[in-house]
């Protein structure tokens, strides 16, 4: 037990060092970094701003106010950005670049666990600014909904963030693992990751029946933020699901991540390098 804790602390320290090296290198061109962070921030700000700008003309979106939508949008965005910081190394374009040029084979030679290295291989400092924006949108949602917040609600929302980080992290791991089979064209995963993020940013009742059911029962995204938010706003869950379904986020997310890492191990056994 003590030795397990010691090695965990050791890996954490290694991970910290890998991040530190990247932070230092990215901070070299400070002006470029600031501009890059602003640009990254502006993409999200523009996307959200476009919706916020047109809502007054329409009054609402499928019966949801701006504050209520901010809860969904903020949850999705905050979790996705945090996940991107943590799991960026597994994102298919990054990992496939490592596989293609052969640096992934170098990972295997180093006396550091592979997963720690991949986790520490793509930490984009410019994304940090987006956390602030996402948190602000989320905070607007919390303060502009007619709801008396309790400690239990806060725990439920924290569980959502945790579940979503695991869920999207799992999708990144699956996408990264696919690059062991095919170096190109894993863009199909973008539909699930970036598409999934966009999908759960809006009330899922606005989508067609088949789309909503696919992202509820086949890909369990609805359990992670839509159902909990419905519950908090005092709205019934669709398909006659019991209220308990709103509390499954901290279970569903890690389950997806565990499955993804199982797939990762299968892929690793298959990995042979590109001969570079």
């Amino acid at each position: 037990m003590a030795s397990a804790l010691r090695s965990a602390a050791h890996y954490l320290q290694l991970y910290g060092r890998l991040l530190g090296a990247q932070v230092r290198s990215q901070a070299t061109y400070r002006g470029a970094l600031v501009l890059d962070a602003l640009g990254t921030l502006l993409i999200t700000a523009a996307e959200f701003g476009a919706l916020a700008l047109v809502l007054p003309r329409f009054g609402g979106l499928g019966g949801w106010t701006l504050g209520e939508i901010c809860l969904l949008y903020g949850l999705a965005e905050l979790s996705f950005v945090l996940m991107d910081l943590l799991f960026g190394g597994f994102d298919a374009p990054n990992l496939s670049a490592h596989v293609r040029v052969g640096s992934f084979s170098t990972f295997l030679l180093r006396p550091v666990p592979l997963v720690v290295q991949v986790f520490g291989s793509d930490f984009a400092l410019r994304r940090v600014a987006r956390i602030g924006l996402a948190a602000a949108i989320f905070a607007y949602g919390v303060t502009h909904t007619a709801h008396a917040w309790t400690l239990g609600d806060a725990a439920l929302l924290a569980g959502c963030v945790l579940g979503l980080i695991c869920f999207f992290g799992g999708l990144f791991v699956v996408g990264g693992t696919l690059t062991f089979w095919t170096v190109d064209s894993v863009e199909a995963m973008n539909v699930l990751t970036y598409g999934g993020r966009t999908l759960i940013s809006y009330p899922m009742g606005i989508y067609g029946e088949w789309l909503r059911k696919t992202f509820t029962y086949l890909i369990p995204a609805a359990f992670l933020s839509y159902f909990p938010v419905l519950h908090l706003l005092g709205r019934p869950l669709p398909d006659g699901l019991p209220p308990a379904a709103a509390f499954l986020s901290p279970l569903v997310g890690p389950a997806v991540l565990a499955l993804a890492f199982a797939f990762w191990r299968v892929g690793l056994r298959r990995y042979q390098g590109t001969g570079t």
Binding site: Y29, G31, A32, L33, V34, L35, D36, A37, L38, G39, T40, L42, I43, A45, A46, E47, G49, A50, L51, L53, V54, L55, P56, R57, F58, L61, G62, R126, D184, S185, E187, A188, N190, V191, G195, T198, L199, Y202, P203, I206, Y207, G208, L211
Partner: protein
């Protein structure tokens, strides 16, 4: 130095017309787009998925309203189809090709071509845009027509005005993209500058939402920028929000922006190239 450049000749020995070279560059730019059909297919699938989401959001916004700011729900669907169709052709998510040649020094080789540098890139990008429109734009429009039904330009005049508007939108967009890429002459890492530019483009050109839905103040402010000329005008002329004389006026604004951007971009490129010589290339 004193010799005039020899007239370009083709195999038959006939003199090339001054447009033959840009035409050849454009044709190659067009054909290059068809090299990776699989990537195009996946791109189309991703665009369709996002199109479905965007249509759902717009229809939920409309609810039971028959018309908002001159758009019907069917116009809004058409707007979504058009924006999704033009993502690649008009490079709405950004474009860094020229930036790369500056950073890698390849621009020095491009300067040796018997063609003005801006003209060379314009021809190449025109071919690229046409190729992407055929490969990605037309199938997307067809898909939208099948899934939801589109509104089409009204009559021969509508088609003429729409076509002109698309060409002018490409010209304005290309010149703006090229201008942003010129930042590479001054900064070793112009990618951040680019990301900034593409974010402004996405909001300002009406890619994220039709500009007519924005509050009046925001619209008035945007009308002083070239961004609406890069996409929003095309949509308004296509669906008939602007028609007849109003459409001609909108085309005039697009043309004026194209000329203005041409002047600024050509000047910036000129200054950038002089700087490149100072730095030794």
């Amino acid at each position: 130095m004193t010799n005039a450049p020899a007239p370009a000749r083709v195999r038959g020995g006939a003199l090339l017309s001054p447009l033959a070279l840009p035409w050849a560059v454009a044709r190659l730019g067009f054909r290059r787009q068809f090299a990776y059909p699989q990537a195009a297919l996946w791109g189309l699938i991703t665009n369709t998925f996002f199109g479905v989401l965007r249509v759902a959001v717009l229809l939920a916004l409309f609810g039971t309203r028959p018309q908002v700011a001159g758009y019907t729900a069917q116009d809004a669907i058409t707007y979504t189809g058009l924006t999704q169709a033009f993502i690649m052709a008009l490079s709405l998510f950004g474009w860094t090709d020229f930036m790369r040649t500056v950073h890698r020094g390849e621009v020095a080789a491009d300067l040796l071509r018997p063609l003005n540098l801006l003209g060379f890139w314009a021809a190449q990008d025109a071919g690229r845009a046409a190729g992407q429109f055929v490969l990605r734009g037309l199938p997307m429009l067809l898909l939208f027509e099948v899934l939801w039904g589109l509104v089409w330009p009204a009559g021969a005049l509508g088609w003429l005005q729409t076509t002109l508007s698309v060409l002018l939108a490409w010209a304005c967009g290309f010149l703006f993209r090229f201008l942003v890429n010129c930042a590479a002459f001054w900064s070793p890492d112009a990618a951040g500058f680019g990301r900034f530019g593409w974010a402004v483009l996405g909001l300002g050109c009406g890619f994220l939402m039709p500009l007519a839905f924005f509050p009046d103040g925001v619209q008035a402010w945007l009308s002083w920028t070239p961004f609406p000329a890069m996409l929003n005008t095309v949509v308004e002329v296509w669906v008939g929000v602007q028609r007849g004389a109003a459409a001609w006026a909108a085309l005039g604004v697009q043309a004026a922006w194209a000329l203005g951007l041409l002047a600024v971009t050509a000047l910036t490129l000129h200054r950038g190239l002089r700087r490149l010589e100072v730095a030794g290339g």
